[in-house]
Every structure is written in C-alpha cells, then in structure tokens.
C-alpha cells in the first residue's frame, strides 16, 4: 500500500506544490490549509508523515502537535516554518517534532532525504 502524507500549510501554492512533488513518488497526499483541517484529517486517518507549518490561521502548528500528543497518535512530524527563533524550535522539539526546517534556511538539499526517510 502506498504511503500517506498529510500536509498542513496555509500557503496554498506551497501546499499544492509539495503535494505535486510527493505524488510523483507513488505517495498518497492529503492537503489541509490550516491546523483545524489538519486535526480533522488526523481524526479520520493517521498518516505516515505530517508536514506541518507553524503559522497558520484557526489553529497553529503547535495546536496540531498538542492534539497528536493528547491522542498519543503515532505520527512523525516534520515542521516546515518561516520561524527560525530558538524558542519556537525548542517548543517543537519538546512536542517531538522529528525535524525542523526553516523555510528560508540553507538546507534545501536535506529536506527531501529527510522526507524520504520516513516513507521507506
């Protein structure tokens, strides 16, 4: 069965683009545009990987991670955020986010291998 990735990203263009890239690799993708939609999707089905933005309307990324923790869902999380401050990064680590990528950082080339790592 193909792997399932949930994307929570309020920038619709970016979310759709990520979905397109991933779907080429025989990966099933669900796109959500805010934290609340992401939580609803998580309630229906726990994905193999969650790609999570932090700054989102209605419910932010922290809220989504709180939900995962409260429900003890087994779901690896890769955070993709514009925020680079240590406080946010620490908070995500505390919530057991597996990887944290700052969108404007220099590590594009590390992003895809990290994603693949969870989908083998």
């Amino acid at each position: 069965m193909s792997k399932h990735v949930l994307i929570a990203e309020d920038d619709t263009a970016l979310a759709d683009l990520m979905a397109k890239v991933l779907s080429k690799y025989n990966i099933r993708v669900t796109i959500t545009y805010n934290g609340k939609e992401a939580v609803e999707a998580l309630e229906k089905e726990v994905p193999d990987l969650l790609l999570l933005d932090i700054l989102m309307p209605v419910l932010d990324g922290h809220g989504v991670m709180r939900f995962i923790r409260e429900k003890s869902l087994e779901c690896p999380v890769i955070v993709l955020s514009n925020l680079s401050d240590k406080e946010t990064r620490d908070k995500c680590k505390e919530m057991q986010a597996q990887n944290y990528f700052v969108k404007n950082d220099l590590d594009d080339d590390d992003l895809w291998p990290a994603i693949e790592g969870y989908l083998r």
């Binding site: 680079s84 404007n104 220099l106």
Partner: protein, 406 residues
C-alpha cells in the same frame, strides 16, 4: 628791640602772604587737577560703559546664538561638572534655567542603551573624549533621561575644549532623534514585510528545483537545474540579509545561544558557493577540528561566515585560493577566512565597516556588490560578543579573523 620785633613780624607777615599766595596757587592747581580728573573719570566711565555695552552686545549675541541652537549643548569642566547648558538642552531635558550648573553631567543626564541599561559614567562618551582628547560621536542609539524620568533617543558628538594646549573640559551637542527613529522603524517594517512576501514564493521555487535535482536528468538538464537552484538560494540569502539588517537596525536583536557543530555548518555554507567557486576556478580549503561544538547563535554565525566566505570568493581572481580555518583557543574560537585576492588598499582599510563602502580597487573587476555585507558582519560580531579584524595587502590577499567566546 621793637624794631627787631617789627621787622620780624613784617617778615612773618610777608611769609604768610607768600604762603597764602602759594596756597591759592596750589588750590587753583588742585581745582584744575580735580576738574581734569573729574573729566577723565567721566570719559573713562563713559568708555567703560561703552565697552561694557559692547561686551554685553557680544555676549548677548553669543548667548542668542547658543540659545538658538536647535541641538542641546552642554559644556563641562575636566571633571565632568556642568559649566554651561543652552536653552535647547534645558528644554529637551526638562531642567529649569541654572538648575544644572556645577552638577555632575552623569547625574543630571543619565544615559542608557537600547536595552535600558544605564551607561556608567566611566563608559560615557565624554569620559572617552577627555581621556583621548579627541572628538567622538555615537555609533549606536543612546537614550537620555529627562528630569521627569522619561527617555528619548539621541545622537551626540562630544569634543574636547582647549585653551592653548590646556584641556579645560568638553562640549557636547545632542539631538533628539525620536522622529528619525520612527521613520527608520517604518522603513524597517516595510523591509521586513517585503522580505516575508518575497520569501514564500521563493521557497516554492527552491523546493521544486531541489526536488528536480534528485530526478534522473541529462547532464545538461542537471547543470541548468543546479544553477537555477543556486541562484534561487542566493536570492534567499539576499532576502535573509535584508531581514537581518532591518532587525539589526531596529536594535531588536538578541542572540539565541545553542550548541552548534561547527564543521557541519562550515560545510553547509561552503556548499552554497560551490558552483560559483568552480566556475571561477578557485580552490577552497576548510580546516576545522572534528566534532568541535560551540555555544553561540547559529543563524548569526552562519551569516558572518557566509558573508566572509562569499567576499573572499568574490574578490579573488581566477585560480586563487581561499582558506577557512577554525582553531580552538583558550576561551575563544578563532576562525580565519583568508584569500589570495585583490586585497584592500591601505588607505581605505579604516573605512571597511562603513555601510555601503566598497574598496576602489574591486569596483571594476567585481561589479556586483553593495557594501552592506561587512557592515552587517561587524554589527553581528558585536552582537555575539566577538571581535573581528583583518590584515590585507593589495594584490596579495586579505585575511579576516573572527574571535568569539566558545
């Protein structure tokens, strides 16, 4: 006997008469002298009065000039006691006329930095001016406290006062820069919003390109995609710099300390410049003790090193060598970025940290350049509690040395 008496009395009478005459002469002379004196005194008085009036006029003029200066002005003696303040100074600080005379400047006008920390008297510009006997100007925004306890941002210049060769005190001119700060803030905010808006679409472009790089492409395609990705990464760096500068200039930046594996970051930074470096036939050597960890602000350190490396590669002609080496010293980490490039002309070296400054010898071989990189580097280095210096020789090369606490 009578005759004798008579003639004697005659003699006395004569003498008296003579004396009376003499007295009259003296009296007349005295009168004349007194008159003369009175006249000359009057003239003198008149002259003194005139002179005083003249002096008063000059003084009034000086005072009017002092009072009309829009900038605050304070003069102190050698010990930092206030000799004189102008109207603008009293108005800006809320002191009444004469209230500050003779008091210690540091007591009357407490100064603090952007974090609100009071600057001790010994570290104030005026102390530096009196010690170095030279004019000094603030480079960062300082804040003055008014009599009522409120503060405002100032820009100030302090100059020593000499009479002949003797240093007698210092004079300070300051300006309320609240308005400038507001404009600066608006500009900064605009920069910040603009950068954020540019960032999101760029992220999409970068991710598409970085995922494309992993596809099975022909050699030509791979090259094109790699270049496009690199270009988009450079653009991301530029935007990051814009953002960082606006943060730096807002004084709102606090370093965030974390453990950083130096070698890993160095490799990441050098990878960013690979394509440019290979195109220009430049050699790059990285030397770093394996597993060396430092506790510092990762983003800021990356910014410093990325700038230094990018400069070294940019300002070194084809076939040159660049070396980035890390050494652990007693209580600090030392990073040298050395190149065999154009170098910085001796007479321009002291202008290096200036914003928008570019050395004259590189303008033609390397057109792209804004003169903002090193300005930013010097500011960031200060922020992480480090120091930076360089040695450079024209057409031989430049070595920048960064030292920061480990």
């Amino acid at each position: 006997m009578r005759k004798t008496i008579h003639s004697a009395s005659n003699g006395i009478a004569l003498k008296l008469k003579f004396l009376a005459k003499e007295k009259e002469v003296v009296r007349r002379k005295l009168v004349i002298t007194a008159d003369a004196l009175r006249i000359s005194r009057k003239t003198l008085e008149k002259k003194v009065l005139e002179r005083t009036k003249d002096l008063e006029k000059v003084r009034a003029k000086d005072e009017a000039i002092l009072a009309s200066i829009g900038e605050g002005l304070v003069a102190t003696d050698k010990n930092g006691r206030i000799l004189l303040v102008n109207k603008a100074c009293e108005r800006l600080l809320g002191w009444k006329e004469g209230e500050t005379q003779g008091k210690l400047l540091s007591k009357v006008i407490p100064m603090s930095d952007s974090t609100g920390k009071t600057i001790p008297a010994l570290e104030r510009l005026i102390t530096k001016t009196l010690k170095d006997r030279s004019t000094t100007t603030t480079t960062t925004t300082m804040y003055y406290k008014r009599k009522d306890g409120t503060s405002f941002p100032v820009a100030l210049t302090v100059a020593p006062i000499f009479i002949g060769k003797d240093l007698i005190g210092a004079v300070k001119v300051f300006r309320d820069i609240t308005k400038e700060k507001e404009i600066e803030k608006a500009r900064s905010e605009f920069m910040s919003i603009a950068s954020h808006q540019l960032r999101t679409p760029l992220t999409a472009i970068r991710w598409v390109l970085s995922s494309l790089k992993r596809e099975n492409l022909t050699e030509d395609q791979a090259k094109l995609v790699k270049t496009a990705h690199e270009t988009s990464m450079n653009m991301a760096s530029t935007i990051r710099r814009m953002l960082m500068i606006s943060h730096l200039e807002e004084d709102g930046m606090e370093p965030e300390l974390e453990q950083v594996v130096l070698q890993r970051e160095l490799e990441k930074i050098s990878r960013l410049h690979d394509a440019h470096r290979q195109r220009n036939g430049l050699e790059l050597a990285l030397q770093c003790p394996q597993d060396l960890m430092v506790r510092t602000d990762k983003q800021l350190l990356i910014e410093i090193l990325d700038n230094l490396l990018s400069n070294a590669l940019k300002y070194t002609p084809r076939g040159g060598k660049v070396r980035m080496s890390v050494t652990k010293e007693k209580e600090s980490i030392r990073i040298d970025v050395a190149d065999t490039g154009y170098g910085i002309p001796q007479e321009e070296q002291k202008r290096i940290p200036e914003k928008f400054f570019r050395a004259s010898n590189v303008a033609s071989p390397v057109e792209a350049g804004t003169g903002i990189g090193l300005y930013m580097v010097y500011n960031i280095v200060r922020l992480i509690g480090g120091t930076i210096s360089f040695v450079s020789q024209e057409n031989k090369g430049t070595t920048f040395t960064l030292l920061f606490p480990s």
